[in-house]
Symmetry: C2
Subunit: 455 residues, 2 copies
């Protein structure tokens, strides 16, 4: 099978690595989760590899018990602003929740990051699956899955209106007449919807890329429909080529049906590359990491994900026969299904399943030499399973260095990856168009109802 063109690569950064035991390796700095210099170093490594973007996951909650592993998570728009100052080209994608933020505040913060970084911001739009997060925001129960996605849709609609509330050429800066901006080119959203009412315009202008790149990372039915409507890049997790192909075809089709160009949604499955000079070396590394897992923590987390009590799982038995199905899960639906299918398909004990999830929490681990990893990447790309990959180094910085210094050059040599940045903005790296302003494009500007004068 031949598919021309180049693929896209995103570096998913996470403290000292995606493997939950990575911090226990002699090489790892266990305080790095809170060290901005560590992240600047990672960003520079990724930029040296000409990667499209780097990415930070997030949730408004203490994810783990602190006994388990490094648990500090600096707020991503803050951390990415620091990384913007340490880099020049690479895109900067932050996760933020539509369930626990206000559109005016969040749209503005992303617009600010976009301006400060010269048009390099992206927003990974998530609805936040856990009850523990809900309980940090005045709620006693997790809002239902469907409701979270409805809210997300309206949240993004409002955000788009806010990002388009300044025309591209508002600023005239005429010192002579004393006119700084053209008030008639400000379009307050005047939004009155089901979840949100937002009257006024943003207090930052449109950015170099129009608005931040919209990224999405949920793969349930609701998640796919949301992605088809809004997402310009999609992070996803698959354990088999066939599953990834099904997802790829399905999402491209839904995007077309939603009236959008399927080429303007880039699908990026996650991979955890464990790279060795030989296969044996790579396998030894993998086994070493697995030995360092403390299964008691992982067992409790697994139980939560699949919706059972921890006491129902035994480390040396397979998953119980009767489990709640995806319908009954109000948390992360697609991840639950992936994990249950993996356990069943390979008939794994809970301990083995935990080992398989320890590296990438459900993302596929590729263990082998740099050539083998490059081959796999190209195979998935040419076989219609991916437009690129979300690189989840098991150990940081060493795993990202190995990928950038060993795998990227192979992909470049094969003409599969850029050798220099040709664009300036994140949109340009991903080959995404700069969106027209909806207000001027439609030819019917929405006018302000009132001036914002009472300060």
């Amino acid at each position: 099978m031949t598919r021309p063109g180049r693929l896209h690569l995103n570096a998913f950064l996470m403290s000292v690595g995606h493997h939950e035991a990575s911090w226990r390796l002699p090489e790892s700095d266990p305080y790095a989760d809170l060290d901005v210099e560590h992240f600047k170093n990672l960003a520079r490594i990724a930029e040296r590899g000409r990667l499209d973007s780097l990415f930070l996951a997030d949730g408004p909650v203490l994810w783990d018990q602190v006994g388990r592993r490094p648990s500090g998570v600096l707020e991503p728009t803050v951390l990415l602003t620091a990384l913007a100052g340490a880099t020049r080209h690479i895109g900067l994608i932050a996760t933020a929740s539509t369930t626990y933020n206000e559109p005016y505040n969040l749209a503005r913060r992303f617009a600010s990051l976009d301006i400060v970084s010269g048009g390099r911001a992206g927003w990974n739009i998530v609805t936040t699956a856990g009850l523990d997060a809900a309980r940090n925001f005045n709620l006693d129960a997790l809002p239902a899955h469907r409701e979270r996605y409805e809210r997300a849709a309206e949240f993004v609609d409002v955000s788009l209106k806010l990002w388009d509330s300044w025309d591209d050429d508002v600023i005239v800066a005429d010192k002579e007449t004393g006119v700084w901006g053209d008030d008639t080119r400000i379009y307050p959203p005047a939004h009155r919807g089901h979840y949100y009412s937002v009257a006024g315009a943003l207090n930052v202008p449109r950015s170099a890329q129009g608005h931040p790149v919209l990224v999405q990372a949920g793969s349930s039915e609701n998640g796919r429909n949301f992605a088809a409507r809004y997402a310009e890049a999609v992070f996803t997790a698959h354990q088999t080529l066939a599953d990834a192909q099904e997802f790829y075809d399905d999402l491209k089709r839904r995007t077309l049906e939603a009236g959008r160009d399927p080429d303007h949604i880039k699908i990026l499955p996650g991979i955890v590359p464990i790279i060795g000079r030989t296969v044996a070396e790579a396998r030894e590394r993998e086994a070493e990491l697995e030995r360092l897992i403390r299964p008691e923590y992982a067992l409790a987390q697994l139980a939560g994900l699949i919706g059972v009590d921890p006491s129902e799982l035994s480390l040396d038995e397979p998953l119980p026969a009767n489990l709640p199905d995806e319908e009954q899960i109000e948390g992360a639906k697609s991840r639950r299904t992936l994990v249950v299918n993996l356990g069943r398909r390979e008939n794994l004990t809970v301990r083995e399943l935990i080992g398989r999830l320890g590296g990438g929490r459900g993302h596929l681990t590729f263990t082998g030499t740099a050539v083998q990893v490059a081959d796999e990447i190209e195979h998935w790309y040419t076989h219609g399973a991916a437009d690129g990959f979300n690189i989840m180094a098991p150990v940081l910085p060493s795993g990202l260095e190995a990928f950038v210094d060993q795998v990227v050059p192979i992909l470049q040599e094969r003409g599969r990856f850029r050798t220099e940045y040709t664009g300036r903005t994140l949109r340009e790296h991903y080959g995404l168009p700069r969106p027209a302003n909806r207000n001027t494009a439609a030819g019917t500007p929405v006018h302000s109802e009132e001036g914002a004068l009472t300060r």
Copy 2:
């Protein structure tokens, strides 16, 4: 009168200056409001002057009509993160609203800024006075003044619990046993209050300064009581020494009554220094700026502040005899009173009043030579009106440069200001103690109800 000791100086930054017409001067870059390099330059100038801190005002709203003046306002926690990377010592104070944020998100963002900057963050806690802001957050009316301050108090209570939700020595990082942190030293707030319920611990640890310095900037009755209870520094506006002394004495007394050390609340009135080599040169500068004001915008803003319709004001007449009193104002109470008193006391026409407000929106303008400005500052300091000042340069960067290069050396020579930074954190610059963790200080840790395991 002799009062020993040193005063504190904060640089209040605002696009190309606090004077609303500053952008029209030949020297000003009218795009600087959105240029992170402009702000980095200002931060470096302030740090060269050994100033305690710099400060950014904020509101979730487009403040002006864009016709009037530069209207872009980058979100302050984002902008200050960028400035943290360009400086080493100076404190970084961001304004954020308790009316339009969620405690978990905001406490975490400030904690992140505090960690990224090495303990230099401060939070200017405001309740946000305008209806236009309310309308960006699902509301049709401004929440009442009293309610906004009640909410602010609970918001800060929750934030303090969140900042204390990690003990100072949680992290043990024991690779051998695989224990990263001590789960028993995490204290989830389990807060159930009138406005907020927040169950879980923060996902960032306690910072070098324990928690960000709490700053406050409202001077009404409700505002003073709030400041007495929480604030470690207070920004305030006064037109006369007598008013400033009254405020100073009153707030120190209230702080004592609230059971706190009055020395741990630093009172910093704002001043707009217009500095010339001669008095005549300074006055000419002031007059030039006044000539560049477009009064139609200012008139509408003044009307909003004092609670009348713009049609009730005429540029060449004094303020109308009958105005709503402070009781009836639900917006910025103390500022309304200051402005009305100024107009009445000096029997100003609306045009003259607008001229007087153009520079500092009610903050006192000091026009004169560097020596005269230094004299005034020392006079207010020694006469019990201030612990320091909030420096609001009318034009930026030139006005800050003039202050740092001409006024600061005089204050240093007189022993009134530091010549080198002696501390590392913002708290140390202001001579404020590092707060003990309330959970451990009390000896009765609040325990977690549930682990945060379902991700």
